[in-house]
Every structure is written in C-alpha cells, then in structure tokens.
C-alpha cells in the first residue's frame, strides 16, 4: 500500500524526515524570494554576481550593513549565500533532469532490447565509469573554460552512466512479468510497452534516487567551484565562496578564528542543503524498501 496517506503517515512517524522536508522547504523559499531577502543594489545588472563594497583584500566581520560580513575583495557574504541558493537549485535540477532523460532513453534501450544493444551500451557506460569522476569533470571544465555551465555539463557527463544502469536494472526486473507479455501479445509497439507499462511500474526507486542525488550534485558542483574550475570569481555560488576563504582559515596570529565567517557560513549552507536532501532520501528509502518486498 503506497497511497499518499501512507507515505505521509510514515513521514510523520520519522522525525528525521520532517527535519529534512523543513530544511528543503526553507531553501525553496529562500531561492524564490532571493530578490526580496537580499535585494541587489541599484544599477546592479547581473544579479548572480555578488556586489562588491570596496576593494580591500581583507575580509570584514559581520556588521549591521553586511549581515554575514564580507570576504576578500569585499563581496557581501549574505548576498552571496542567498543567491547561491538559486545557483544550487539551478545546478541540481538541470543536472538531474538531464541525467534522468538520458538514463531513461539509454537504459530503456539497453534493458528492453537486450542483446547487442545492451552490450554496447553497457561497455560504453563501463568506459565512462572507469574514469574517476572528479578528474573527468576537471578535464571537461578545463577544456571548456571554467564556468558554472561547464560544471553542469561535466556533471551530466559523469553521472549519466549510473542512471542508465539503474533504469536498465529497473526494466530488467519488470520485463519478464506477465502483464508485459500480455501487452506484447496484443501487439503494442515497443515504445508503448516501455512508456506505458514497464517504466511506470519500475521506475520509482530510480526517481527517488534521482531526487536525492540533487544534494550530491550540488556537493560535487561546490567541490569543482572550490577547486577553481566552476563559477568565476565573485559569482554567487557556495563552492566559489569557500574558495575565497581558503587563504583566511589560519586567521591572525593570536586569533585563529578571526575570519571564521568566510569559510563557515557558506559551508553551513551547503551542509544543510545536502543534509535536507539526504534526510529526505533516508526516509524515502526506509518507506519504500520493505513495502516493495522482493524486487
């Protein structure tokens, strides 16, 4: 029984999942209302570049004007993390969306038709998987020039094999079921069988995985930005902001935590964002697994 009521009941019973949902909802609100929460100053054209309030290379601690302080080059941290939420969602949704589409297409072909189509697709995924993902992503972003879009493209290229395999597995688990035979018996076209019968019955675990991977994708994107391969300097992106902070972690002699805000605040945003998705994911897995029985 996987009715909505049941899912809601299980979520209610699981306090961790409530925390997860709350966190994600908060972030969604922040993302939608970014222009209201952290309004861009007059004449600031590209909203995704953090406005600068000076040119001093030393970060300044939080005060009335800059709620979270400024980082080197006087970029406002508060603005950066708020608008960074939008960047995070953008990256997460685009990557996962694309990867799902590719995965469904290729995975269906491989799982449904089997034989040589399957072998070929599997070998190709093997090759991509043999590449350490970060290196591949690094190589792609270097080749294309560092930017957020390169990061997105790189992450898509790195992640599609996993989803192809997952969808393929889903299809395989359901392919031999009787109702598929029945549909074939009445002469439905392949596409119809896949789209209307096989996928709707098998794809939920993969969809769940995908929605939770949004957190992981954002983490990877942040890592790439941190390494300098992602968003350009001053862009509102959490990873990029931590990269700024790297030089300031040792603080001043006598006060090692002098610049804590440069590294801690963006990091906490990333942590909570990913945490929210992971908590939700955990809860979903606990709900779906035993109910699905043998799969």
């Amino acid at each position: 029984m996987t009715g909505l009521g049941f899912i809601l009941y299980q979520l209610r019973r699981n306090p961790l999942s409530i925390i997860g949902i709350t966190i994600i909802l908060i972030f969604i609100v922040i993302a939608i209302f970014a222009p209201v929460i952290a309004p861009p100053p007059e004449g600031h054209i590209n909203h995704y570049m953090i406005p600068r309030y000076g040119y001093s290379p030393t970060p300044k601690p939080p005060d009335a004007e800059h709620r979270f302080g400024t980082t080197q080059g006087q970029y406002d941290i508060f603005y950066g993390v708020i608008w960074g939420t939008r960047s995070a969602f953008y990256v997460g949704l685009v990557v996962i969306g694309s990867v799902l589409v590719i995965g469904i297409v290729l995975g269906s072909l491989a799982g449904y038709f089997g034989g040589i189509v399957d072998e070929v697709i599997m070998r190709i995924t093997d090759i991509f998987l043999a590449f350490p993902p970060l290196i591949l992503a690094m190589a792609i972003t270097v080749a294309l020039g560092p930017s957020l879009n390169s990061v997105i493209l790189a992450l898509i290229i790195v992640s599609w094999p996993v989803y192809t395999r997952l969808v393929r597995g889903d299809i395989l688990s359901v392919r031999e079921e009787d109702y598929v035979e029945a549909t074939r018996g009445i002469g439905s076209s392949h596409a119809r069988i896949i789209l209307r019968h096989i996928l709707p019955n098998s794809i939920y675990p993969t969809l769940v995985m995908a929605s939770l991977d949004i957190g992981a994708v954002v983490l990877s994107a942040a890592a790439l930005s941190f390494l300098g391969l992602g968003a350009p300097e001053g862009y509102a992106d959490w990873g990029q902001m931590i990269q700024f902070a790297r030089n300031w972690i040792v603080g001043l002699p006598g006060n090692p935590f002098a610049y804590w805000y440069t590294v801690t605040i963006p990091g906490l945003f990333i942590l909570f964002f990913v945490l929210g998705w992971n908590l939700l994911g955990d809860a979903f897995r606990d709900i779906l697994d035993p109910r699905l029985g043998k799969r």
């Binding site: 090759i127 290196i135 890592a223």
Partner: protein, 348 residues
C-alpha cells in the same frame, strides 16, 4: 561457468574497456590546441623551444586517427610527456607522488570499509534503538559534509587553534630534511613505513601527526556511505526466510546475525566498493589540495588549474587502469562470496 573461465573472460574484456578509456581521453585532447598537445611528446624542458618541429614530427595538425596512433606509440615507449607544473617527465612525477597518496589510502581504506561494515551491522542489528539512531544521525551528517569544507574546518581548528598540533603537508620542515639526508633510507618513500624500517621514532611520530587530519577528512564521508549501505543491506538480509529458519533451528542471535545475515548483506556492499574507490580518488584530490599534501591528487589539481595537459591525461589514464583492475578484484571477491555467481545458476 567455472571460476577460471570467469576470470579469463573478465580480463579479456578489460582490453576493450581500456581501449575505450584511452579513446575518451584522446577525444578530450582534441579540445586543446596543437601547442598544448605538443607538450605530450616532450620529455625534456629543452625540447620546448622546438615546439614547431614537434608539431610537425608527430603530425599534430593531422587527422585524428594518425595522432591517436602516434600517441599510443609514445605511451608504449614509456613517454608520457612533460609535466610543466612539477618540471619533470610525467612518468617520474607519478613515481614521485604515488607513495604519498598510497600512504593516505592505506590508512583510510581499511577504516572506511571495516568501520563502515561494523557500524552498519550494529545499527541494523539494533534497529530503532539508540545505537541505530546515533549512527544514523552521524552517518547522515557525515555524508552531507562537503569534504573540502570539512578539511578546512579541521585545519582551522587543529592547526590554527591548537597551534600547529596537527599540521598540513607530509612532514615538518626539519624532519623533512632529516628524511632526505643520508642518515635515513627511503625504502618505500612512504614515511610511516620507512620510519618503522629505519627504527626512527621521531620521523614516525611526525609523519603520523601529519597524516591524521587528511585521513579523517578522507574517511568521514565514505565511511558514512558504507555504513548506510551496510545497514540497509543487513536489514534486507535479516528479513529473509533463511533467518527465520536459522532462529527456528535454535541458533543464538549472534550466529544468526553474524553468520547468516552478514554474508548475504555484504554482497551489495561489495558491488559498491568499486565506486568507493572512485570516491577515494576524488577525495584524495580535494584532501591533498587542502592540506598541501604532495601526492598524486595534489599534482592532479595543480595540473588542472594550470592546464598541464600531459599530466591530466596521464593521471586519468592511470586512474582508468586502476579502476578497471579494482572492479575486477571486486568481481572476483563477489564470485568468491556468492556461490550463485561462481557456479552459475543450474539445477541438477
């Protein structure tokens, strides 16, 4: 299908996959211009002045397949090019930096795998009780941590705050001098092992102190992952029919969990181990970068930032090979644990 046949078949399949990896790498290469690609064929810093000649000799402005053939040829002759970021031939760079990374991996990997399996089992066996909730929370937070952020925070606290108690890099300056001097023999170039072999306590202590933070950084995220996986795998295993049978036979809870449930639960965890390896490689790049720990990961990052094409490609190739081999080992272990894989599904 017999085990031997299985192994041979897998080894044979290795070749087209490696072939494919090199193709992929080479494909990436084409995105760079000929000058940068020329760096691949250079073994010595002096050769740079003859870039034009190199381009011509190796046909770098010629059709792709000829270039590919040339490149493969060079590789087979042991010439991987010149790494400009560290000013030495790529092959030397790999040999130079490998021990450092190996040392890190040797400490981190058992922690990750055995720690994860152990904690995951405990959590599953005591489901919904304190142990379970505590480890769950820990695991979820651990898995959500950005590795690089964790490293930075750790540095901030243990290096900045505790006045250099756990410092970055591999060795303190003075110990480093000692290690490179004649008094100390570098057998493996892995500091901890060498220190033991040399019977030198000072080097040992220093090396360990430098290793603690990077190892923690590397371990936390991956440990959390394995732990979660082991837990859910154990829970699934514990729900199976043979567990009820085992209990009905009068086996004590310990045997039921550790003998019957665990072996079955390990199977999916093992499958994932290959990906964990990839995660460790990723983690190594970030970790070494943060701690300025001069190993392969650090080298890879420097190369990436500075567009040092030969280095990037060599690192990628090296990793591709390693990954494929690791997968093979994993598959073999898989076959050893699961008799259905080993002996094929037959009915006599």
């Amino acid at each position: 299908m017999e085990l031997r046949t299985y192994i041979i078949r897998r080894l044979v399949l290795l070749i087209p996959v490696l072939f494919g990896v090199t193709l992929l790498i080479f494909g990436l290469l084409q995105l760079f211009d000929p000058v940068e690609r020329a760096a691949l064929y250079v073994k010595d810093v002096r050769q740079f002045s003859e870039v034009g000649a190199i381009i011509e000799r190796y046909g770098l402005d010629q059709p792709v397949w000829i270039q590919y053939g040339n490149w493969i040829n060079e590789i087979f002759h042991g010439n991987f090019g010149w790494s400009k970021v560290v000013a030495m031939p790529v092959l030397d760079a790999i040999v130079n930096f490998l021990p450092a990374t190996l040392e890190l991996a040797i400490f981190a990997t058992p922690l990750i795998i055995f720690g994860g399996i152990f904690l995951g089992s405990k959590a599953a066996a005591h489901k919904d009780r304190t142990v379970d909730h505590a480890t769950r929370v820990g695991a979820i937070i651990g898995w959500s941590l950005p590795t690089f952020w964790l490293g930075l925070i750790l540095l901030m606290v243990f290096y900045g705050f505790f006045r250099g108690f756990l410092p970055p890099e591999r060795l303190s300056t003075d110990v480093s001098i000692l290690v490179h001097s004649d008094v100390f023999t570098r057998y493996t170039r892995m500091n901890v092992i060498d220190a033991i072999l040399n019977g030198n306590g000072r080097v040992l202590g220093d090396a360990l102190r430098h290793l603690i933070l990077p190892v923690i950084t590397l371990t936390v995220v991956n440990l959390a992952f394995i732990m979660r996986l082991m837990r859910s795998s154990m829970l699934e295993s514990l729900g199976r029919g043979y567990i009820l049978t085992a209990r009905a036979k009068g086996l004590d809870e310990n045997s039921v969990v550790n003998k019957h449930a665990r072996r079955n639960a390990l199977i999916p965890v093992l499958t994932v181990s290959g990906y964990i390896f990839a995660a460790i490689v990723n983690g190594v790049v970030i970790t070494e970068t943060i701690f300025n720990y001069k190993g392969l990961g650090w080298w890879a990052w420097q190369s990436a930032i500075n567009l040092d094409v030969p280095s990037i490609l060599a690192f990628a190739l090296f990793n591709g090979v390693l990954f494929v081999l690791t997968n093979l080992v994993v598959d073999l272990l898989y076959a050893r644990i699961d008799p259905r894989v080993r002996l094929g599904a037959q009915v006599t």
